[in-house]
């Protein structure tokens, strides 16, 4: 099998927390995207008997066609990668991963005789424990039961893929997803000993947004997760400095007034006199230590706690800049200035909007983090938000597969290389 064959048959898969991105190198710039979820069909139900559905689980673009009642949705819909780690014995999540992987590979596997399997590059969370790698390789091997779909496979951490896609060999990648955030310094290789994780992500901001909605009189809507997320994305703001932003909001209530009409419904959300709380939502992701959040904790909002998942410790209350400094300081001193000079922010949790008339008090994530780091005495900082963050992990997978030689075989110590499966 030649290098040329490998380069033509590189296949990337990004097991993201919300979306599952996949496709071969021939797709060019943009991969296929489906939601990272699976629906377990009730085979006893009248609907599945009528439709002669024989499969146990449905994934992919046609999943909504198979949904039944809202009650069964909660019981039967599985999001396997919600916090980046799947429990060893969570068989339902592993079934969804297997089905999504098969769906992706079969969608693109050519039928011609020359095809002898893809060179599959999969990407998972930096904090994924070793058993997840083992389980994934077992799944990839099972892909070849009917015909050869995977010639060889490898698994790389998502922050490495982000750095590769952005053409930066030395940097710190901060990946903030739904359930948590990971900070990973990279210098040609991911520096695994310096990885640091926070037990805060998009869901933390959702939790606070739900509390704000309750205070504003929308307690009934605060239970709908997708609606809360939407309100957060539309109305949430990231303050340059929280105290100044709150003062500004109270002095200029008309400028900060938060109102949102949900298209296609009769729902209108008006935060009214609570509009100043829009600034709390962004601040909470970056620094939950401000005294103003205490009132929410004392009223029952869960405080992000320190937890251990797999081999990784997730800090609950450490602020984002402090976490970056702690991570970088685990690296050699000579390397540290280079790492601070390229900090890449990746993931949907960094996409805060700045309305034109609030530029004075609201900022984007890169400006916020730069100023937090400068306050802590770090000079020469350059923070950048990744371009097209949805696709950068998949693109990094493609570059990785394209470049790594076919004779570089998988090694469990360095966690790199090709594992041949066919």
């Amino acid at each position: 099998m030649s290098e040329e064959y490998k380069r033509e048959h590189v296949f990337g898969i990004d097991y993201g927390t919300s979306d599952f991105k996949y496709g071969p190198i021939t797709l060019g710039e943009i991969p296929e995207v489906v939601e990272n979820r699976g629906y377990f069909v009730d085979r006893e139900s009248l609907m599945s008997r009528l439709m002669d559905i024989r499969r146990e689980i449905i994934v992919g673009k046609e999943l909504p066609l198979f949904l039944e009642s809202r009650k069964s949705l909660a019981e039967r819909m599985v999001y396997p990668m919600r916090n980046g780690v799947i429990g060893k014995d969570d068989w339902r999540a592993w079934r969804v991963v297997e089905e999504l992987t098969r769906y992706a590979l079969e969608s693109f596997a050519p039928r011609d005789e020359e095809f002898d399997g893809f060179y599959l590059v999969a990407s998972v969370s930096m904090v994924a424990p070793r058993y997840m790698y083992e389980k994934l390789f077992e799944i990839f091997k099972r892909m070849n039961e009917e015909r050869t779909l995977v010639k060889a496979a490898t698994i790389i951490p998502q922050p490495l893929a982000v750095a590769i896609a952005h053409k930066i060999p030395t940097c710190v990648v901060v990946e903030s997803g739904h359930g948590n955030s990971q900070i990973c310094p990279i210098s040609m290789y991911p520096i695994r000993d310096a990885v640091l994780a926070l037990n805060r992500g998009g869901c933390s901001a959702n939790t606070l947004m739900a509390e704000i909605l309750k205070d504003a009189g929308y307690g009934d809507l605060a239970k709908e997760e997708s609606l809360v997320r939407r309100v957060k994305e539309e109305l949430g703001l990231l303050p340059r400095d929280l105290d100044s932003a709150i003062d500004y909001a109270k002095a200029n209530p008309e400028k900060v007034h938060g109102r949102l009409k949900i298209p296609g419904t009769r729902i209108v959300i008006d935060l009214g006199e609570h509009s100043w709380t829009r600034f709390l939502v962004g601040e909470y992701v970056f620094n939950p230590n401000h005294e103003i959040f205490q009132s929410y904790f004392t009223r029952g909002m869960p405080k992000p706690s320190d937890i251990k998942i797999g081999d990784t410790f997730f800090y609950g209350m450490m602020d984002m800049a402090e976490a970056i400094i702690e991570s970088v300081e685990k690296c050699p001193i000579e390397l540290q200035p280079h790492l601070y000079s390229k900090i890449l922010l990746s993931g949907g949790n960094f996409g805060w909007r700045v309305p034109e008339d609030l530029r004075e008090v609201a900022v984007t994530s890169d400006l916020k983090l730069s100023s937090m780091l400068r306050e802590k005495g770090i000079e020469d900082v350059e923070v950048k938000i990744t371009e097209e963050p949805r696709f950068s992990v998949w693109r990094g997978c493609i570059v990785y597969g394209y470049a790594v030689p076919i004779d570089y075989e998988w090694n469990w110590n360095r966690m790199e290389g090709w594992l041949y499966l066919a």
Binding site: E4, P24, E29, I58, G60, S107, P169, Y402, Y408
Partner: protein, 225 residues
């Protein structure tokens, strides 16, 4: 189905814009290379010795290729060698440039001229002197005819390859139709369960996706061993 370009096509393509066309292609019996193409713009002839990965696996292959290329300078106005991109670091640009040899790197996505070949004045002068008008015209005529033959041969090869692919596709379709006919007695809801989007696979293009162009990681990762 993926369309695979030969290295010879990729190399010839980068000189097309400069007015060169292929006049000769040899894929066997070349000393120090796996194949050779000769390109001409009607005035100058450029010989490109192409080395594939298998050739380069042999110890000393690069040195042999360079010595053989040096010899070709007596016969052609310009000489270059083409190597797979992953062997790029095995050749020193400065040395090639000093000796007037060109360097081209290629991979399945395209080819790139790294060091341009130096064209010898002597051959150009001989060809442009036109001391005997009739002779000069007849040489150009010969070059044109050779170029036409080369083009026709390439078209034939391509047609042959297309026919092969069509025959394979037809066989595969026949098998699938037979299977569907066998199962036609049952209502098959499964059809909608696994949507096929193979149609979206684009043929491999000579243009690299943006994230692969000038990406320093390609060099870093290709040295993993």
């Amino acid at each position: 189905m993926l369309r695979r370009f030969k290295p010879e096509d990729l190399v010839a393509a980068i000189y097309e814009e400069e007015g060169f066309y292929e006049v000769e292609r040899r894929e066997e019996g070349i000393l120090g290379a796996s194949s050779r193409i000769v390109l001409s713009d009607g005035r100058r002839e450029l010989a490109v010795n192409i080395l594939d990965e298998d050739t380069l696996m042999v110890h000393g292959a690069i040195h042999d290729a360079l010595l053989q290329a040096e010899k070709l300078k007596e016969r052609y106005s310009g000489v270059a060698i083409a190597i797979p991109r992953r062997f790029r670091r095995a050749v020193d640009d400065g040395v090639l440039s000093m000796h007037g040899l060109g360097l081209i790197v290629y991979d399945m996505m395209g080819a790139e001229e790294v060091v341009p070949p130096r064209f010898s004045e002597r051959v150009e002068v001989v060809k442009s002197s036109n001391t005997v008008m009739e002779k000069a015209v007849s040489v150009e005529e010969i070059v044109r005819i050779r170029s036409d033959i080369g083009r026709i041969l390439r078209m034939l090869e391509e047609l042959e390859a297309r026919l092969d692919r069509l025959e394979r596709a037809q066989r595969s379709l026949e098998i699938r139709v037979n299977k569907i006919e066998q199962r036609s007695s049952r209502v098959e809801v499964r059809v909608r369960e696994t949507p096929k989007i193979e149609e979206r696979v684009k043929p491999s293009s000579k243009k690299l996706p943006s994230y692969l162009v000038d990406n320093p990681w390609i060099d870093i990762l290709s040295r993993r061993e």
